[in-house]
């Protein structure tokens, strides 16, 4: 999400760092670039102005113009200012003194509230909680159906409310939750504009009677300059406790999150990272600042790997790989695991120093597509063929090509690649045995 911003800033800093000494003009130019980069990333114009002014002031205060390390100092000043804007540590979800914990989702139309409700329920359910969902969006056609269908797929109950008594019915659902063995209640509300007086009154009434510990504002990551105005208006009327930044899997540059945090002080708590119900991540401001500045986010990567990769399986596969006993079947399993971790491009960007590599790859989307092709080819092979590709004669190859909707030459290419990889691994394995290869630390695959 934040890559373009990070690219722009990196380029600016590189230019600056190429100078022996930072002149007045250099500083001006760098700050002009910073301004454009932030505006292109949808950072609110007022905040951009403030940030640029702060950086200039500090730069002059730290005498960067006279110092030999002036460039580095400017970089550090911008970095610190960004981190300040994003907030420090992750802010955990509130807890209830007495169950149930009540969470309400509010926000503009189409910001992703309903999906987020289901994703939160999924996270909490996995942590051993027993959530109850309340479908209080009585305005958008089929919004209730949507939540009911999501609840069904999660195995989480959903209460509906009557359009005439939304606030009362929500309160009643919360009241009955404990007796039904539910320790968390998540309330979905209708999307509304902050300038719609009647709708803002409605949500005020809901929040008053639901008395949630957590009122989360869902914000589309692609939002532009309006983000601050809308969020501030919601904050003025409701006790907003956190933001959920949704659709982060777009290539939006994320300035809205930065701006809202800076303008309202409300912390970002979660990121929505896919349409799937497991696409919700805890937000780590400190890690994000590092990602913006191209330092990678190895922590998130390791966490994702731990969540999705079976360690024993990974170890067994690594051993097989080095002993060249690695088959197409193992390969297939590995593809499945990598896929669970998210798009390849994202994974690469999270690895420190890999941001550049991700860019060199022809195109992460293409890599993703290639992966799908490989998967299709392997799944058209019989078990026997997967274990022993040597038996793949012309007619078998043709059958596989037909089955997976590719050409025979694509099948041939994959077989050739696989063979080359096996050979390479054989050599690696031999070297490892002789103790020539250091153990790769913490590599999940």
């Amino acid at each position: 999400m934040f890559e373009q911003l990070s690219d722009r800033l990196t380029a600016t800093f590189e230019k600056l760092q190429g100078r022996a000494r930072v002149t007045d003009a250099d500083l001006d130019e760098a700050l002009r670039d910073v301004r454009v980069a932030l505006l292109e990333a949808d950072v609110n114009f007022k905040i951009v102005r403030q940030l640029v002014a702060t950086v200039r002031e500090r730069a002059i205060g730290e005498k960067v113009l006279e110092s030999i390390t002036g460039a580095q100092t400017v970089v550090k000043i911008v970095h610190d200012a960004l981190v300040e804007m994003l907030g420090g540590e992750a802010v955990p979800l509130a807890t209830a003194d007495k169950p149930p914990l009540v969470i309400a989702l509010v926000g503009l139309q189409g910001s992703g509230k309903t999906t987020t409700v289901a994703k939160l329920a999924n996270v909490l359910r996995k942590q051993g909680h027993h959530p109850l969902l309340v479908a209080a969006d009585v305005h958008r056609p089929a919004a209730v159906d949507q939540l009911q269908s999501l609840g069904k797929s999660l195995g989480v109950p959903v209460r509906t409310v009557s359009a005439e008594r939304v606030a009362d019915d929500v309160a009643a659902a919360i009241k009955g939750a404990t007796a039904e063995g539910r320790d968390t209640v998540i309330v979905d509300t209708a999307g509304r504009l902050h300038v719609d007086a009647a709708m803002m009154q409605e949500v005020e009434a809901i929040i008053r009677s639901a008395a949630p510990q957590e009122v989360l504002l869902a914000v589309d990551a692609m939002t532009g300059q309006d983000a601050v105005e809308a969020a501030s208006a919601f904050k003025a009327r409701l006790p907003i406790t956190g933001l959920v930044l949704t659709k982060v899997d777009s290539d939006a540059r994320g300035g809205a999150a930065l701006s809202i945090r800076a303008a309202t002080g409300v912390p970002v708590k979660f990121l929505g990272t896919s349409e799937r119900l497991d696409g919700l991540e805890v937000f780590h401001p400190d890690r994000l600042a590092a990602r913006i500045l191209g330092m990678g986010d190895i922590l998130t990567l390791v966490e994702r790997a731990q969540e999705h990769v079976d360690e024993k399986e990974a170890e067994a596969q690594a051993r097989k790989l080095l002993e060249a006993r690695f088959t197409f079947d193992d390969f297939y399993k590995q593809l499945q695991q990598v896929k669970k971790m998210g798009p390849i491009g994202d994974l690469l960007k999270m690895m420190p120093g890999m941001g550049g590599l991700a860019k060199q790859l022809p195109d992460p989307q293409q890599a993703e597509r290639q992966m799908t092709t490989i998967e299709a080819i392997i799944s058209s092979m019989t078990m026997q063929e997967r274990r022993d590709p040597a038996i793949l004669n012309g007619s078998r190859r043709k059958r596989i090509a037909n089955g997976s909707g590719v050409t025979v030459s694509e099948v041939n290419a994959l077989l050739k690649q696989f063979k080359e990889m096996q050979n390479l691994m054989k050599q690696f394995g031999a070297m490892a045995k002789r103790g020539k290869l250091p153990k790769l630390p913490g590599m999940p695959f």
Binding site: V36, G110, V195, G224, A227, S250, Q366
Partner: protein, 301 residues
Amino acid sequence: MSIDAGLAKTRGSFLSRLFGRAADRPVTPEWLDALEETLLRSDISVSLVDSVMLQVRDVVADRKAETVPKVLAAVREALVAVLEPGERALIAGTGTPRVILVVGVNGSGKTTTAAKLAKRLRDAGETPLLAAADTFRAAAIEQLEIWAKRVEVPIVSGTPDGDPAAVVFDAVQAGIARGNTTVIADTAGRLHTKGHLMDELSKIVKVAGRARAGAPDEVLLVLDGTTGQNAIIQARQFTETAQVTGIVITKLDGTAKGGAVFAIADELKLPVKFLGVGEKAEDLVPMDPRAFVNALLPANG
């Protein structure tokens, strides 16, 4: 965007000559800053804003325009000129039924826009048919079915998790059989960054052409008016995949101005055809560049 050209257009205006003197507020540096803020705040891309401001400062320095009303009018004309080109009416199409695909990212307002458009056409005496081809999002089909009932337009629905291209195909076939004038197909929200979903969209486009040669006639990209600079990237990607023919900007009943669309019109030469201004069936209005610019840059600047 040319301020000079904008200036030329306003110079001869009878009204500006008449009222020009009364409002001879001189341009001050503070006013220029405020103008820049107004433009940036509306999500006009920073490169366009910078280019406008550079020209404005030149024009002021060269004493070609020194008063607020004159500069403002020139900027407005320049902005209008960006949005003017292109055909803003719906494309008539090369066959019957005309096929309109509604595409865009998640939550931008596609389903609502499809329904609003159906109502517009019906009110204009056409016999539209809706196609619920968002088979992915939970209850998306029900949502359009409720709308279809509301606007009294028939609908062909897919099945949850079914093939969206097949729904479009069936709807166009049904439209041919029943003599509908237009088929409006609602599609699932997809982020332009998701290769497989964009592939699915290009398949939908292809299959529409198989159902009726030359279809789709119109591919409307629905952009959320609150979207910032990402709107330009969305427009680029969707145009590449699905040959977008027009833009609809929604949610302009809030405080967002939808200024990202200037860069889209400028770069991709895509006309903005409709604006979404509310959640009711009648809240879809044809784009009027002048009114759009006036909303963004009010008279007193």
